[in-house]
Amino acid sequence: MSEKTKSFEEAMMRLNEIVVALDRNEHDLESSITLFEEGLALVKQCDAQLKTFEKKVSELMVKYSDDANV
């Protein structure tokens, strides 16, 4: 896996690659397991990132709606 944390978009792209590759089942078992593990890690990362985004959006909405109403 890469040394830097991927952006959400990069992670999703990589995730899709992995799914396609695993779906075709064209790798040897060791590589497949490595991909599988990477895929699970990316799912976790994307999920966490999405949750962060969602949280941030609702926080921002609260913050700036308040400002606008004042």
């Binding site: 799914v19 089942n25 497949s32 699970l40 799912v43 999920d47 999405l50 985004f53 959006v57 909405m61």
Partner: protein
Amino acid sequence: MSNVVWTVSTLVNRLKQTIEQNVAFKSFYLKGEISNFTSHSSGHWYFSLKDEGARVSCVMFSSYANAVDFKPKNGDKVLLRAALGVYAMQGQVQCSVFSMRNDGLGDLYLQFELLKKKLFEAGLFSDERKKPIPSYPKSIGIITGRETAALQDMLKTMTLRWPIVEVTIYPSLVQGDQAPRNIIEQLIKADRNQHNVLILARGGGSIEDLWAFNNEQLAYTIEALKTPLITGVGHETDTTIADLVADLRAATPTAAVQLAVPDIQEVEQSVHNQLKRLNQIIDSELNKQRVALRQVQTHPVFTQPHRLMMSHQLQLSNYEQQLSQQTKRAHRLRVGLSTQQSQLSQRILSFTNNQTVRLARSQDLLIKRIEQKTLNSQNAFGQTLKLLNAFSPLNSLARGYSIVSQEDKVIRLINDIDYDREMKIRLFDGTVRAKAMKEQSDE
């Protein structure tokens, strides 16, 4: 001098052609005093225009007469715009009038039209020269009369619509001979102060009141401004040169403010709507990503990861099966082999046994035969011995017979005898040498 005789019609028609073909007569300004004014029931006006030395008859058709904003009467000094024609029936030149103004204003109107034409030709009114007006100005300069109602109206409107703007007022004379110069000075001063937009305004008044705004130098000053300018001079119907050169023209001072600044309530509403829209967009984008991620998460690759190994397992069990088949085959072969082996050893054993038996039998037989044979031989030998004894020459010799031999050859016939050679005669008790002598044969 020509000798040709013209008819009256020819003369008048030639006069008509000459006049009507002359471009200068097609549209011109004419000033004078009205006399013999008649308003016909059709709405057309007929009158003469005169000055100290001449008069000319005029007609103004109803479509033009209706647009005149006063009712002319005899003795009025007016300014006309007209075309010259010939009324053949009367043999008269006649002005066909398009517009009429009171001549008190006649000069001003003419000057205005001339200046407008000149500046138009110089390109001062062209749209390409107009600067865009900023949507949300922070700083505005207003050039207008000190402590006028127009200024109060403008400030009130400004406070209602866009209270967050910073307003600087540049008081100026807005009528009289000094006004144009004063306006120009204030415009130039305001232009240096980095306002987002300038407003040049004056409340309503007569055409003479507004005359300061029809100034050529002012027009060029406005054209050279770096700051966008909005004008609001007079009422809706008034248009001044300043209005024409300005980047944006409003009908009144208040209207100028409305064009200069947005309505803060509308802007707030718009900001609110934008915020809502923004939230919707980001929400839908997040949703989209959430759905995409869920799709990946619920993909069989992740929900049934054993599928990853399925093909490998399948292959493995396949190999196992093949391998076990090979083992079974080997086992079968081994069993077959050992069966054959035992069969072989049994066969060999029985064969050996048979052979041993046969051998023993043969041996017995052989022994018996040999014994038999020996017995037979012994019997035969005894008989032979007896026979031998019977035939033995010794017996014959004993009985008196003898054996004649020559050179170890037994002589049986006379012809065998060699008379020259010695003979041996074997007798019962020994041998003697003798010699034969020839004798006459009986036979």
